[in-house]
């Protein structure tokens, strides 16, 4: 029997000619869509946690990775990280299974609207815990928390996104991030975040050519050929112009921080530049978090900064306020008008 089917993706994206005029359709709930994007990243993290090396002891295992973040921190932070690493070392399968399970629960919790709020709360708590015990507070106290390398800690952005994506009724104007916390609070959060990124690009070893070079040089082991070539170019760029690049990044971050107060068209241009720059950083400096080398626990900050920027994308004409905050827009089953 001959059958023909059509998927709903275009319908809910508002581009299906089969659904009649555009005014017949309910607009897509952007906040819900971004919640699901966040859930996808959590699901990726959960699966990355299941990689074989995460269950092993020693310097190449998960406990060794955690221990590496302890060095250089103040004593009490060092001890707390070492304590956590010790627990992981002695019970690698139990602890890592638990860590993966929590991340699976967060991912699937965000998907179901009934468990969305608890899942977001857990994600905030978990992110802060990982930031402390798993990322050594983003190496801020070691002076190496440059945004090039993921500073102030990729996992912090999970917490920030969870706050900004807290479910609420209402529209997505002027941007999705303002829907729950309001324009003033969202704008303040934006300014603080980008101001912090600007500062971190300049303080400590953030503007040191050698430190920036070493940041990339330590990552290329095990990377695919094309990315290793990109890394070589990044290393050379940092070695020769590291300070200049750090200053340029800081200036960009300041401009991006101010963008939220500019007219929508100007904001969009600046956000495109910011997204482009952080996409390059994510690939050419952060190496997608090291995922392609088979030794990553998360995609690092680049991807999350891009998602954050999209939350502040001005929603101007042509998009009416979202009506349904409980889930994606139901697709129509009406026949196409052809």
């Amino acid at each position: 029997m001959s059958v023909t089917e059509v998927d709903d993706s275009r319908v809910s994206a508002g581009a299906d000619p089969a659904a009649g005029s555009p005014t017949d359709r309910t607009p897509r709930d952007l906040q819900r869509m971004f919640q699901l994007v966040l859930a996808t990243v959590w699901l990726l993290d959960a699966v990355l946690q299941l990689q074989p090396f995460m269950f092993t002891r020693g310097s190449n295992g998960f406990s060794g990775m955690l221990n590496g973040f302890a060095t250089g921190n103040p004593g009490w932070i060092d001890h707390s990280i070492s304590w956590n690493a010790s627990n992981v070392y002695h019970h690698p399968i139990l602890t890592n299974s638990l860590f993966a399970l929590i991340q699976f629960l967060i991912a699937f919790g965000i998907i179901w609207t009934r468990t969305l709020k608890p899942a977001l709360v857990v994600s905030i708590v978990w992110s802060l815990g990982v930031w402390w015990f798993g990322e050594g507070l983003g190496t801020i106290f070691q002076g190496g928390a440059t945004p090039f390398g993921g500073g102030p800690g990729g996992v912090l952005f999970y917490a920030l996104l969870a706050v900004l994506l807290w479910p609420s009724e209402g529209g997505d104007r002027p941007f999705v991030a303002a829907r729950t916390v309001g324009v003033r609070a969202a704008s303040a959060t934006w300014v603080v975040t980008w101001g912090l990124l600007a500062a971190l690009a300049l303080v400590g070893s953030g503007r040191s050519p050698r430190a920036l070079h070493d940041l990339v040089a330590g990552l290329d082991s095990g990377e695919p050929g094309w990315l290793a070539h990109v890394d070589k170019a990044s290393e050379m760029a940092f070695l020769h112009d590291g300070t200049t690049l750090a200053i340029l990044l800081a200036v960009l971050c300041v401009v991006v921080a101010a963008a939220v107060f500019l007219p929508p068209a100007a904001t969009q241009v600046i956000l495109v530049v910011a997204i482009g720059v952080f996409a390059v950083i994510w690939v050419a400096v952060q190496n997608l978090g090291g995922i392609l080398a088979g030794g990553a626990t998360d995609p690092n900050s680049g991807l999350l900064v891009i998602i954050l920027a999209l939350l502040y994308w001005p929603q101007t004409a042509g998009r009416p306020p979202a009506i349904d905050s409980t889930g994606p827009t139901p697709a129509t089953e009406e026949a196409p008008a052809r």
Partner: protein, 224 residues
């Protein structure tokens, strides 16, 4: 040898077999009740479930690699053709066939580039060393894995239950393959009853797709 922790790989292998068994049951229901859509996805999930169970646990693998490669090539071609047909009828859009085409392609990649030790995994791939040490492109592997995770998440969140198997317009269009035919209740296939209704519950169909997406994404991450 199955890597540590073994429970993890047995768990995923069992999940893959469960999807395969469920897909077989769905296929029987589809034939018995002349369901117009979804049977191709059932066949794909059946093959993928059986094949991937053998990738997670070597002892559970069966059949020559060439057979599996042929199966997934045919499935890939089928879903690509169906996607093109859907686009011809309804214009450029993301047909649900595309994700199944991507999954068939991923299966082919797994057979063309078996997991290598020393690249972060020693997952028990049953395909031996057919590719002569070639390594899957990690970027492609990651991209596909992320795509499958996104498919799993958005499938679960979709209010259109069963869309992962049938799309969303099958009730009106599927019987005639035309956008211009008005489909009345008399044209619908016989309604599902009893156990068949329970087996073919749309949420269960979506759940099987989600399990397959997560399992396949995990295998692709292991192969990086």
């Amino acid at each position: 040898m199955t890597p540590t922790p073994t429970y993890l790989y047995y768990m995923f292998a069992m999940a893959m077999l469960a999807v395969a068994a469920y897909s077989l049951a769905l296929l029987v229901v589809s034939i018995a009740f002349r369901r117009p859509s979804g049977w191709d996805v059932d066949i794909a999930h059946l093959a993928m479930g059986l094949s991937m169970a053998g990738m997670f646990i070597t002892d559970w693998a069966f059949g020559p690699n060439a057979m599996w490669q042929l199966i997934f090539m045919l499935l890939l071609a089928w879903f690509v053709v169906r996607s093109i047909q859907a686009m011809q009828l309804f214009g450029i859009h993301l047909s649900h066939y595309l994700i199944h085409a991507a999954m068939s392609f991923a299966m082919l990649l797994m057979y063309w580039f078996p997991a290598q030790s020393g690249h972060g995994t020693s997952a028990s791939m049953s395909m031996g060393t057919a590719a002569g040490g070639a390594r899957i492109e990690p970027g492609l592997s990651f991209l596909l894995a992320f795509l499958f995770f996104a498919s799993a998440v958005f499938t679960l969140a979709s209010p259109n239950k069963g869309a992962s198997h049938h799309g969303t317009h099958h009730r009106r269009y599927a019987l005639h393959g035309s956008t211009e035919v008005a489909v009345g209740p008399q044209d619908e296939p016989p309604p599902l009853t009893g156990a068949a209704q329970a087996v073919a519950a749309p949420w269960l169909e979506d759940a099987s797709h989600v399990v397959m997406c997560v399992g396949m994404g995990f295998m692709l991450i292991l192969m990086i």
